[in-house]
Symmetry: C2
Subunit: 104 residues, 2 copies
Amino acid sequence: INEMIKNNQLKIEELTEEKQKLNEQKGKVKNQGDELKKRIKKIEELKGACPTCERPLEEHTKEEILKDLNEEIEQKRAEYKQLIEKEKELDKQLKLEKQIQPLL
Amino acid sequence: INEMIKNNQLKIEELTEEKQKLNEQKGKVKNQGDELKKRIKKIEELKGACPTCERPLEEHTKEEILKDLNEEIEQKRAEYKQLIEKEKELDKQLKLEKQIQPLL
Ligand SMILES: [Zn+2]
């Protein structure tokens, strides 16, 4: 039984640590998504010519740039959803180990 | 003699007014020159891609833009020099009229 208690404690520690890392990853992906949103907004606001490099920005060129950025942000959203799924899985396992804990 | 006094006074007024307008024009041209300098500096600092529209800015494109802007600023400098010349001419005429003034 001592073996089982030790394993259970270890499992709880590991799962908690994994959840911590996952939270960091979620934060990173969210920041990358926000960064992309800013770039998209900045480019959407461009009309006629770019105020910085002064070159004319044709509508089709602008749409191409936005298309790529929107694809990137879709990838970030998919990444985030995957992390949420993993988090749910970890929470399930953690709940299980914590239910076992008082029985040992 | 009264006619001459009146003409002299009128001439001094006109020349002073012309000098005023010329000063305004000088100010305008100087501001346009400063504006161009800012645009030139901003574009000179661009490397690789434009941070705003995110498009790559090739060296030769950048040089073309700068060449046009530098030509524009050269025109402003020429304009300014012409205004300085006009101002010197007005000052000469004004000096003459003021020298006449006490003799009338
Ligand atoms: Zn640009």
